[in-house]
């Protein structure tokens, strides 16, 4: 039986490295977590105590609901989700090729466009890191 991604030290390291890079590029990043499709935290940044586990479960549910809504509308799977508030926004981005999702929370200083770009870059970095590990 293969090791689940959330228990793989290499996967966790790949994701943690990409999250640290995201934080260094975006001072408006409040917290970020990479989660498995079934709701386990793989890596996190700026998350305290049980907050990461909670966010991981909610991110998994939201992603699955996004995919279900897209499927019902005969669209391709959900690429990203955005929850916008006056305090900031929560952005989720699927990591291509892996059953993983990046969930990042930015404060109000970040524009949606900028945070979407940064999250996409982070997701690509994780996918690239994962490929290098597998090679």
């Amino acid at each position: 039986m293969t090791t689940p991604l959330h228990r793989s030290a290499q996967t966790r390291a790949c994701c943690a490295e990409a999250l640290a890079q995201l934080e260094s590029q975006c001072s408006s990043l409040k917290l970020a977590v990479v989660v498995s499709d079934d709701g386990f935290e793989v890596a996190s940044h700026g998350v305290f105590n049980q907050q990461g586990n909670r966010l991981a479960s909610m991110a998994s549910s939201m992603q699955a609901l996004g995919d279900a809504a897209a499927r019902e509308m005969k669209l391709t799977p959900c690429e990203y989700l955005l929850i916008d508030t006056t305090d900031g926004h929560l952005l989720q981005r699927r990591i291509h090729g892996y059953p993983l999702v990046l969930c990042a929370v930015f404060d109000h200083r970040e524009t949606v466009g900028r945070s979407l770009f940064a999250a996409s870059e982070c997701a690509q970095t994780i996918a690239k890191n994962m490929l290098q590990v597998a090679a």
């Binding site: 039986m1 959330h6 998994s60 279900a68």
Partner: protein, 185 residues
């Protein structure tokens, strides 16, 4: 048309998705993800948000079936659906480590819904493990919650006829407490 929300809950691997697929007259809206927690339940996928199905009762009444994930880390979904629900179908797999403990824990968690609406317990996988019996569940629930009456059935979640019996018992239970029309007005 009056629409009644029924919540289907229970531990991971009890057969909630299967039960909704058996009951629903529409293709079930599902939110399955690859299951990496094979120690808890050895199955390839698991529900991470909800399952949704529908049954039309007659010209004026429709049942909306919402199944929620079994894992406690998804209990925020339990609360979201519980607030809208009229009643609870609780599925428990008899081959779990402590199926009666699971049943009483879920009854406790959904206590408000059980008291204001109603509940039935469907014990699944009794063909794999025959004990505890349905009577054992009734006794355990009665000891813990003497004020609550919950019918218990041994069920095959794949069998539509059996699941219809459970759903009908739940609706009768709910009606006995309060007419549906008043609940959903």
């Amino acid at each position: 048309m009056a629409e009644h929300v029924i919540l289907i809950a229970g531990p991971m691997g009890a057969g909630k998705t299967t039960a909704i697929e058996a009951l629903s007259e529409i293709p079930v809206v599902s939110t399955e993800a690859a299951n990496t927690d094979r120690e808890t339940a050895d199955k390839p996928t698991t529900t991470v948000a909800l399952d949704y199905g529908e049954i039309t009762l007659d010209d004026t009444d429709k049942i909306r079936l919402y199944g929620v994930p079994g894992q406690r880390r998804f209990d925020f979904m339990w609360r979201i659906i519980e607030e809208r629900a009229l009643g609870l179908i609780l599925l428990v797999n008899n081959d779990a480590k402590d199926p009666i403990g699971e049943a009483t824990a879920f009854v406790e968690h959904f206590g408000d819904l059980v008291k204001r609406g109603g509940a039935v317990i469907c014990v699944t996988r009794t063909d794999v493990v025959s004990e505890p019996s349905a009577a054992d569940y009734v006794d355990a629930i009665r000891r813990t919650y003497p004020e609550i009456i919950i019918p218990v059935f041994a069920m095959d979640a794949r069998d539509r006829d059996q699941m219809v019996i459970a759903l009908t018992a739940l609706l009768i239970n709910i009606e006995a407490q309060s007419p549906l029309e008043q609940d959903v007005a």
